[in-house]
């Protein structure tokens, strides 16, 4: 087994640039998630790695070997498609055995490898069935099974859970995580679901508009988003982003009626951004209610969402709409005026979309 190394990868269709200068590594045995909204180019990136598309520029290597000139069959990778792409005319066993047969494995080897994969994925009872006789979850397992029988160098997953219903998706997520642990496989996994990315990924790459926005472990992505895109994309409900201006002294941030003291967050760099436009980000769970007087932000309660475990308050402050998580036992009514504040180290500051605080 070996890791994946991508350098300067670009892809255009005609005049449309799909991917621009992407470089990254996936270490051996690492579970790497490629996260991004639909249309960001993440599936294209996966297909480039698989060899289903040819890159415009850049190189792809596994270990020390360049694979980008090779046709897919010579790259030793497995691909799990969003639609599963099972062979409809073959039963489960044949679906699993297909790639092994193409590679000329003996009958016994195929039998033992397929049985092993089927056991691992609890498919033994369905080996004789055709794909259309299986449930969505079972098909998904077969698709995964087809990838693992071969023990390829790299596994590529293209939103494999997106066609499952919510309950099944959560279950499969855990199973995939366990599978990864058992197989110690190198995985590149594409999803637009940030929850999936956070639970599965050892490393997350956030992609938008064909560009790599941020790369790091889940905690770094969540707690230190590199730009407003990542900040907004990761986390649910979304991070509150408040646009405003820093005062001449570089201490107080104003946006409408809100006044936020950034001296703690900027820790001395305030002067660099004095009198400039800034964006302040605060995650809903980082707000804490205070008395309306002297609060950073004051707003009128519009909707209270009670999810049982959590309570989210949507407030309007001037033109800005904000969301805050409050303790489930706090009672609030529509129209009430609420004051909010947050710890300085929980603030995310962005200038021109880029993070400026540590």
């Amino acid at each position: 087994m070996a890791g994946l190394e991508v350098r300067g990868l670009s892809k255009s269709f005609g005049d449309t640039r799909i991917l621009e200068e992407i470089s990254f590594d996936v270490a051996e045995g690492e579970f790497c998630v490629l996260l991004g909204p639909s249309g960001c180019g993440k599936t294209t990136l996966l297909r480039l790695v698989a060899g289903l598309e040819a890159p415009s520029t850049g190189t792809i290597s596994i270990g020390d070997k360049r694979i980008d000139p090779l046709p897919p069959r010579e790259r030793d990778i497995a691909f799990v498609f969003q639609s599963y792409a099972l062979y409809p005319h073959m039963n489960v066993f044949d679906n699993l055995a297909f790639s092994l047969r193409l590679r000329g494995f003996s009958k016994q080897e195929i039998q033992s490898k397929v049985t092993e994969a089927a056991r691992l994925l609890e498919l033994e009872a369905h080996l004789e069935r055709k794909p259309q006789e299986l449930s969505g979850g079972q098909r998904q397992r077969v698709a995964v099974g087809r990838a693992i029988v071969r023990r390829p160098k790299i596994f590529l997953f293209d939103e494999p859970l997106s066609n499952l219903d919510a309950a099944l998706r959560a279950g499969m997520r855990i199973e995939l995580a366990q599978l990864h642990r058992k197989l110690q496989a190198t995985i590149l996994y594409v999803t637009h679901d940030q929850a999936e990315a956070m639970t599965l990924g050892e490393k997350i790459m956030v992609l938008d508009k064909g560009k790599l926005q941020q790369m790091g472990n889940p905690s770094a992505i969540y707690h230190k988003p590199a730009n407003t895109f990542v900040a907004r994309f990761v986390g649910s409900p979304q991070m509150n982003l408040i646009e405003g201006k820093l005062d001449d002294k570089g201490i107080v941030f104003r946006a409408g009626e809100s006044r936020i003291d950034l001296s703690g967050a900027l820790s001395g760099h305030g002067a660099d951004y004095a009198a400039k436009d800034l964006t302040v980000g605060i995650r809903p769970e980082d707000f804490h209610p205070t008395a309306p007087d002297g609060a950073w932000i004051r707003g009128e309660v519009e909707i209270v969402e009670d999810l049982g475990s959590d309570k989210f308050v949507h407030i309007r402050s001037g033109h800005a709409k904000l969301v805050a998580r409050i303790a489930p036992d706090v009672g609030l009514n529509r129209g009430e005026i609420l004051g909010l504040a947050a710890a300085p180290n929980r603030l995310h500051l962005f200038s021109n979309g880029k993070r400026i605080n540590k």
Partner: protein, 271 residues
């Protein structure tokens, strides 16, 4: 109900229009020689089988049928083989010139045979392929390729592409993808194309007339067209032979009506 009677009436009219003329010919095949020439015509035949016997024995109908089966069968087989290669490429590679090729195929499918007949004849002559099965089969493959390719391309395009990509990643070459994944999946489409190509080749007359002058190699349409002799007009034998030549086709049509409708309209009217 007015509407209901209207539909009943028009259905009967359509049925009669389509079936009666041919039925008349079928009835003719069972008439005796004097019944055929009866004036005014006699409708109900006395179910005389003599014309079938003489069509088979004297006019060599079986030989014509055998030739037609060989020619139409081989044409179908080769057109599907060659055409499916092309159709797969056309369905999966979007290149500027593949588009042009599709249009070229469409255009040449419309040329009357006479536009190419002379030189085709000379090419076959040069190859010494006149009066041979392979000569007429080669001409027929050319005739049926455009239609076959268009129909198969339509069917191929409807297949889920990801399954083919999965096969590529699983270790198939393009040709293996075609052979092991696309063709089994497109089997219904191939079958439809095959029926249409077969019927087309079974019925073709112009090139058969040109290429097959040797009666031991001639196909049914040529045989039937040339049944009349210098001093004879064997209507009974012609009717008998026509009935037997048409039966397989009517059978195919009745059996695969849906597929034929779908195949002929493939790509044509959708969208």
């Amino acid at each position: 109900m007015k509407r209901k009677t209207f539909f009943l009436f028009s259905s009967i009219a359509i049925g009669c229009f389509s079936l009666l003329p041919f039925l008349w010919f079928v009835l003719t095949s069972w008439k005796t020689p004097s019944e055929i020439e009866a004036i005014p015509p006699q409708i109900i035949p006395s179910f005389y089988w003599g014309f079938y016997r003489s069509a088979l024995e004297q006019y060599g109908l079986l030989r014509y049928m055998g030739n037609s089966v060989i020619v139409a069968g081989a044409t179908t087989l080769f057109t599907i083989a060659i055409g499916s290669l092309a159709a797969y490429a056309l369905a999966r590679f979007r290149l500027s010139w593949t588009r042009f090729y599709l249009m070229l195929l469409l255009a040449i499918s419309m040329f009357p045979q006479i536009a190419v007949a002379g030189p085709v004849w000379r090419i076959l002559n040069y190859l010494n392929w006149l009066n041979s099965y392979h000569g007429v089969i080669a001409a027929y493959i050319t005739l049926s390729l455009p239609m076959g390719i268009w129909i198969m391309t339509t069917f191929f395009k409807e297949l889920p592409y990801e399954v083919e990509e999965a096969a590529l990643v699983d270790g198939c070459t393009r040709l293996q993808v075609l052979w092991k994944v696309v063709l089994p999946l497109a089997a219904p489409g191939l079958f439809t194309a095959a029926i249409l190509i077969f019927i087309h080749a079974w019925n073709e007359f112009f090139f058969a007339l040109l290429i097959l002058t040797n009666p031991t190699l001639q196909t049914l349409p040529v045989g039937i067209a040339l049944f009349p002799g210098e001093y004879t007009m064997p209507w009974g034998e012609i009717a008998a032979a026509s009935t037997m030549a048409t039966l397989p086709l009517v059978f195919l049509t009745l059996l695969f009506q849906r597929r034929i409708v779908r195949g002929l309209s493939a790509g044509a009217v959708k969208g």
